[in-house]
């Protein structure tokens, strides 16, 4: 990864809507260099998608989230990958991580209601052959995600003019 790409990623992680022209000025390189660096990272799977960080509490929809600790039996030759892919293909599943520690997979699940989410765990997740146990924890409040603090409104406490 070259220096330019790393700098671009840092900027895009903060705000992926900065126009290419501005990115080029900010990094002191040509528009062409910025465009092709981004293009390359999109092609090689470094940049997968551009999405907003949404505070869903501000949106009037039904939405519950849970983190599920899943213990599984790894399969010969495939380790955890096969069972992980069985799990992450469900639409309800938003993230899946292989973890060190007392369980194997951490699964983030999202559904409209508690009932739907419970149904997912009991009817889809727990019944998978290699799943030996689950522990479901519901998300009560989101304080910070992807480096963004949710309730702290951006404010500037500085004097308007200072020497």
């Amino acid at each position: 990864m070259n220096e330019l790409k790393l700098r671009l990623l840092n900027l895009l992680q903060e705000d992926c809507r900065i126009p290419l022209e501005k990115l080029a000025v900010m990094l002191g390189v040509s528009l062409q260099e910025v465009a092709s660096a981004i293009e390359e990272m999109e092609q090689d799977g470094t940049i997968l998608r551009y999405r907003p960080v949404v505070n869903w509490d501000r949106v009037n929809v039904n939405r519950v989230e849970a983190m599920i600790e899943v213990r599984v039996t790894p399969q010969r030759d495939m380790g955890f990958d096969a069972i992980a892919s069985r799990i992450y293909r469900f639409d309800e599943v938003k993230s899946v991580f292989l973890m060190s520690g007392s369980y194997d997979l951490l699964v983030l699940v999202e559904a409209a209601t508690l009932k739907e989410l419970a149904a997912f765990v009991s009817e889809k997740l727990s019944v998978l052959d290699t799943v030996t146990g689950t522990a479901t924890s519901f998300v009560l409040k989101r304080y910070k995600q992807e480096g963004v603090i949710f309730e702290a409104a951006a404010k500037d406490d500085r004097l308007v003019v200072s020497p």
Binding site: V25, V160, V161
Partner: protein, 393 residues
């Protein structure tokens, strides 16, 4: 109240031009300010946390006058590593209430009635008044865009009289962003030595240089330590303006005199600020000054954006190599700096500081700080562009 109570020496000093502008701008809703003079970062959390720990564990007492020895040791280490400037923590460093106090100490410890002190113009607002308060005479030393707002050796030579005692040396410069590189220092030093001048080097922006230009401390130039008061602090480099913590470094006899004034007037800088500063330097030493480098990169990106924006609007803007200000020329508009800023504020609600707030040679320029959120910067550029468009009609 009787007029007799007021000292003429103090009443003769005009209030800061910045203050007057603040009074207009402060009341305005929806204004975007490019008039600030401080980082837009909050002090890194680990630094704030160190101060909280110190408070919680009951560290509420005075510190030694010169500051905690452990902090002074970190300062000495930092100056040696970053700028190759070497000071003895026991005898050559005083920790002060901001670099501002350090400037005052340096002047009061050295200036007597009749002494002249050269103050680069445009320059930070406090130097000349502090010279006056110390009983000396501030003599402006003009710099201009044509030499990148650097001090020209011939201009310095011409400004020196038999009464000249000291030169204020504030680089990287507020408001111009000028940096005196090594070659510029080398050209100036023979003049300084020939006239036996004391150098009061305010290096508060030392960490904020760009385009691969690294700050060179004049105190680290051969033979210069003996005639230099090196002033620095934590405000700009670690985003710690409100903590009010700085320091002055000088040869032992001069430090002793500065410390005498400090001990009688201030006693010591606030303990929690000292603890926080020590944390900033200690962690910086361990992680390669990551906090500073991250902030510097962010300023640099916005610096490029601002220079590009002004140039695009047809305002000539010398490229600032340091600090976090642009100082574009607005001469092409035919307006004075004051008029330009007032009209810009009234019509487009953008706050810039007239160059004249920093001395007469600031006429024809405005100071714009780019340490502000990207979104606000872009909005400010759009508004300034519109303002210029209307002027042309």
């Amino acid at each position: 109240m009787s007029e007799r109570f007021l000292s003429p020496r103090v009443t003769a000093v005009p209030p800061s031009g910045i203050r007057r502008f603040f009074d207009i701008a402060g009341t305005m809703k929806g204004a975007i300010s490019l008039g600030v003079g401080e980082p837009d970062f909050v002090t890194p959390y680990h630094i704030r946390n160190a101060a909280m720990d110190s408070l919680l564990s009951g560290e509420t007492q005075y510190t030694p006058n010169r500051g905690l020895l452990s902090l002074r040791a970190e300062i000495a280490e930092y100056l040696a590593r970053r700028f190759d400037a070497h000071y003895d923590p026991e005898t050559e460093i005083v920790v002060t209430v901001g670099a501002s106090e350090a400037i005052d100490l340096a002047l009061r410890a050295t200036v007597d009635p009749g002494d002249q002190v050269l103050v680069p113009d445009p320059g930070y607002v406090s130097y000349a008044p502090c010279v006056t308060f110390a009983g000396g005479e501030a003599v402006p030393l003009t710099t201009s865009a044509k030499n990148g707002f650097r001090i020209d050796p011939e201009d310095l030579e011409r400004a020196i009289t038999p009464r000249t005692k000291a030169l204020i040396f504030p680089y990287p410069n507020n408001p111009t962003g000028a940096v005196m590189r090594r070659e510029h220092l080398e050209a100036l030093i023979p003049v300084i030595e020939r006239h036996d001048l004391l150098v009061i080097a305010d290096e508060i922006y030392a960490e904020l240089t760009y385009d691969g230009v690294e700050h060179v401390s004049i105190a680290a130039m051969p033979g210069l330590k003996e005639r230099t008061v090196l002033i620095n602090g934590f405000s700009k480099s670690f985003a710690m303006t409100g903590w009010r913590l700085g320091y002055a470094c000088a040869p032992k006899p001069l430090t002793a005199q500065m410390n005498k004034i400090h001990q009688y007037t201030i006693m010591c800088a606030p303990r929690q600020s000292q603890v926080a500063a020590e944390e900033a330097l200690r962690v910086g030493r361990e992680n390669g000054y990551k906090d500073i480098l991250t902030m510097r990169e962010s300023y640099d990106q916005r610096r490029r954006l601002m220079v590009d924006a002004f140039t695009g609007m047809g305002l000539s803007c010398h490229v600032p190599e340091g600090a976090f200000y642009c100082f574009p020329s607005i001469e092409s508009t035919g307006l004075s700096s004051e008029e330009f800023c007032t009209r810009l504020l009234r019509t487009e609600k953008v706050v810039c500081v007239p160059g004249t707030a920093f001395g007469l040679s600031g006429e024809g320029h405005i100071r714009c700080c780019y340490a502000t959120a990207l979104k606000s910067l872009n909005e400010a550029f759009a508004r300034i562009g519109r303002f210029l468009g209307h002027l042309g009609e």
